[in-house]
Amino acid sequence: MIERARALGAALRSPVDSAWLAAFRVLFGLTLLTSTLRFLAYGWIDQLFVAPQFHFKYWGFHWVAVPPASELHALFWLLAVLCALVSVGLLFRLAAFGLFVGFTYLQLLDVTTYLNHYYLASLLALLLACSPAGRTCSLDAFLRPRIAQSSVPRAWLYLFRFQVAVVYTFAGLAKAHHDWLFHAEPLRIWLLSRTDTPFIGPILARDWAAPVMSWAGFLFDTCIPWLLMVPRLRPFAYLLVIGFHTVTGLMFPIGMFPVIMVLSALVFFSPTWPRKLWARLPARFTARLPKTSPRPEPALGASDRRYRLWFALGALYCAFQVAFPLRFLAYGGSVRWHEQGMRFSWRVMVREKNGSVTFVVRAPRAGRTFYIAPHQYLTGLQEREMSSQPDLILQLAHRIRDDYAAKGFGPVEVRADTWVSLNGRAIQRLIDPNVDLSRIEDGLGKANWILPEPSGPPPKLHAIRS
């Protein structure tokens, strides 16, 4: 056992060319720079963070405050600079940690802005910040040659591959349910609304399109990490990655997600792939640039104790990445309905769910009843997100409770009249209308105030037939 551990340790410590990590750093920095600039250009900062008068917080992070608009804009510009610094490898460690902290902080401002690929970006920024990605092909290495290195421990390569494989695998497993596999929902709903897409529209209108694409998506997500690990299949698998993400990126408003996944999948290639690619470039492009090391050199030395600490941290990280998305198993029922265990689990586009919520506020002392529409507190985007996510409904209920108490109505009861349609099914109550939400505290336990999911199949829709 000990021998095996030593062998594993030695394997993880063995050096591999660091070119892959440098390439990843450059591409990742550029991708997040683009993402940050999109926020600035499209006015999303004001829409998402400034316009709302109420912000939903993650459990345990209620203390995270939203700064004034000017500071938010400044933060985005700062993030853009940090992205650029990460990309060129200048002040890398500081810039990468700053990017991780800043990007994560933004995500904590409002739950309704949660996106799986933002979460992935935060994780990758953290991994990058901890890695020696700034020591190869970077301005830091150029300015301080003594820190330059052309190899990294193999563990880093495996860790990045693990992270990407986790995303695909859980995204695939999240599709392993009745609606997706046997009713092709919600893909059918999405495809049928896109039948006017040039060229592929008529194909999407076919009855078989949604089932075929549902299964294709499921098989792609679950198999692609394994296909990318087989050297002989890798080029074909990567073409599949490009094709899949290009199609989904063109069809659905998923922003930078396809780009991040296409570049992330590069970690499955041989660590030397950037050098090989570089070597294939015409000489006129490469002649003026410094020659790169043709062979990996041993990694910089580090004590066994330090390695053990890093491996332990890496193992903990991996264990968390596997366990956390599986927490939904502890709650039972359909996670797509009750949403407990939905976030941070790579459940990418697995449900079409819309709700209508009216808060019924009863003020016993005043003898009054109010029907509060969420738009009184929320933007359209926030309302749409909140209306089908019980913990967010609970948060707003608490805000309403506090507001009405502050208005002098005394202790009030807040109930939610909540109707939700999952994948086109007939609407059903999401939350027990008899439960006074003002007395319920959010937590990690099973929420008994959430009613069971609908039992029947989704409706069978088809393309427009006159």
Binding site: Q47, I189, S356, G424, L461, H462
Partner: protein, 487 residues
């Protein structure tokens, strides 16, 4: 082979001219005849509105009727099944608190009037492209209908300034009531040039607020403008929207009190300029101010029509031919913008027009009758009725008796007929509740709160479906730019 769309546009123009002449003539005649403006008195009569009795004809009820364009006629028009039905002619009579006629397919009543302008709706199978074309024709027809009334309002207001008499005063009120009733149908068409930028409709030009800035209203800004003679300045057309539009005109024409709603510390009270006006001067200024508002409303209506006109902004093309050259990237996006506009029925109608006065939403006191939409002209109920009819025009079809393509046809076309049925049932329930709103809101809000609450509840049943199953199966999205990426 003739181009059917060109034919349709030609027929629409022909119809527009003919209907415009007829309506203008009728309105002029009615102005002389003078309606009885029943400002404050509820007469208790309930049967004078066509279709309001159980034997009334009128247009089909939503559940029984629906679009006529569907093959098989599953929703064939059966007047006998119509039940209590609101005709789009306003149907105010005694129940509405004031006699207003915008005409209606159900025939004239209470003094006679022409029907609303009806677009030429071709019989065609459902497709998104065809639906968008009909929506565009429908929106233009609604604005053209309003233009006719805005023109009559402008002329009557000018006449009331030139030689004010009781008859001219009455005439201008009637033309305002007719214009308002027409606009309340068009309120639901809040997409494209009519939409606000805040609605995140990429075709927004804010023109609705220039015509009717309701919820941005209030007496004090108008009273201040009255004292300052803002209406006589050259910059009136670009002044704040809460000093212009149909809302300001309603106060100027229908409020006869001598007080003002501004704080004691406001300039008009602190400096005594309001008190110094005197009754005669106030009345004269109100007449002049109303005329300026009427002219401004007409100008903005023409601007709105210009924005749709193929020779002008050609928003029609942007809506009906999304993609390159349009503000909407796809037919789906264009239809999402329309859907976003018709959500007026939830936010404005259910929550603001009913919820606040009822005291169940944003109202500190037990009831907030001061929040009623048209409390000076006493047509708050009529407004809701017209909004409802506008909703039906988009949901069921824009032609007379709601023929043509509507969102319900879309549901049918994708196999969601069961949902369509439930939505039509909810629509019928809302109609029954609105019909039962008798006496009108201004009275019911204090004396029959249960009836008002019933309308609120019925509309909620409809909007619950709209916000959930409806948008799910049709995959309608928030307008472009309303958010961010999505995974």
């Amino acid at each position: 082979m003739k181009n059917p769309r060109r034919q349709s546009a030609f027929r629409l123009n022909q119809f527009r001219r003919a209907a415009g002449l007829v309506t203008a003539g009728l309105l002029a005649a009615l102005s002389c005849k003078s309606f009885v403006i029943d400002e404050n008195v509820y007469t208790g009569a309930t049967s004078s509105r066509p279709g309001s009795s159980s034997t009334g004809g009128g247009s089909p009820s939503p559940a029984a009727g629906g679009s006529q364009s569907r093959a098989g006629g599953s929703g064939a028009h059966t007047p006998a099944q119509g039940g209590a039905e609101v005709a789009e002619n306003g149907g105010q009579s005694a129940t509405g608190g004031a006699l207003v006629e915008t005409g209606g397919s159900g025939g004239a009543s209470g003094g006679g009037s022409s029907g609303p302008l009806e677009p030429e709706i071709p019989e065609e199978p459902f497709s998104k492209a065809a639906f968008l074309r009909q929506i565009a024709d429908c929106a233009v027809a609604r604005y053209q209908d309003f233009e006719v009334h805005a023109l009559a309002f402008d002329e009557a207001a000018k006449a009331n300034v030139a030689s004010p008499t009781d008859a001219t005063a009455s005439a201008v009120k009637n033309t305002w009531l007719a214009a308002n009733a027409s606009w309340q149908v068009a309120e639901i068409f809040r997409f494209g040039p009519a939409a606000r930028s805040a609605d995140q409709d990429l075709g927004a030009q804010e023109l609705r607020d220039q015509i009717y800035a309701w919820r941005f209203g209030g007496r004090c800004p108008v009273e201040t403008a009255l004292v300052d003679k803002l209406y006589a300045s050259t910059g009136f057309g670009s002044s704040l929207i809460n000093t212009r539009g149909l809302g300001a005109a309603e106060y100027l024409l229908f409020y006869s009190g001598t007080d003002n709603d501004c704080a004691g510390s406001s300039a008009i009270n602190k400096n005594g300029t309001w008190a110094a006006l005197g009754l005669g001067e106030t009345a004269a200024r109100k007449r002049a101010y109303a005329a300026a508002v009427a002219a401004d409303v007409l100008k903005n209506t023409q601007k709105l029509l210009q924005a749709w006109d193929p020779a002008g902004g050609n928003f029609r093309k942007k809506l009906t031919q999304p993609g390159s050259g349009s503000v909407y990237p796809s037919e789906q996006a264009a239809l999402s913008a329309v859907w976003n506009g018709i959500f007026y029925i939830e936010k404005e109608v259910k929550d603001y027009k009913l919820g606040i006065p009822l005291g169940v939403f944003e109202c500190g006191a037990g009831l907030c009758p001061e929040a009623l939409e048209s409390r000076y002209a006493n047509v708050s109920t009529a407004n809701i009725r017209q909004n409802y009819l506008g909703f039906r025009r988009l949901f069921q079809g824009c032609g007379g008796n709601y023929t043509g393509l509507g969102f319900d046809d879309w549901l049918d076309a994708i196999g969601a007929s069961e949902l369509r049925g439930r939505m039509l049932t909810a629509l019928a329930g809302a109609q029954r509740a609105i019909d039962a709103l008798d006496p009108p809101l201004e009275v019911s809000i204090t004396q029959h709160t249960d009836r008002v609450l019933a309308v609120h509840t019925a509309l909620k049943q409809l909007t619950d479906l709209l916000k959930t199953e409806f948008i799910t199966v049709l995959d309608l999205e928030l307008p472009a730019g309303a958010g961010t990426d999505n995974d």
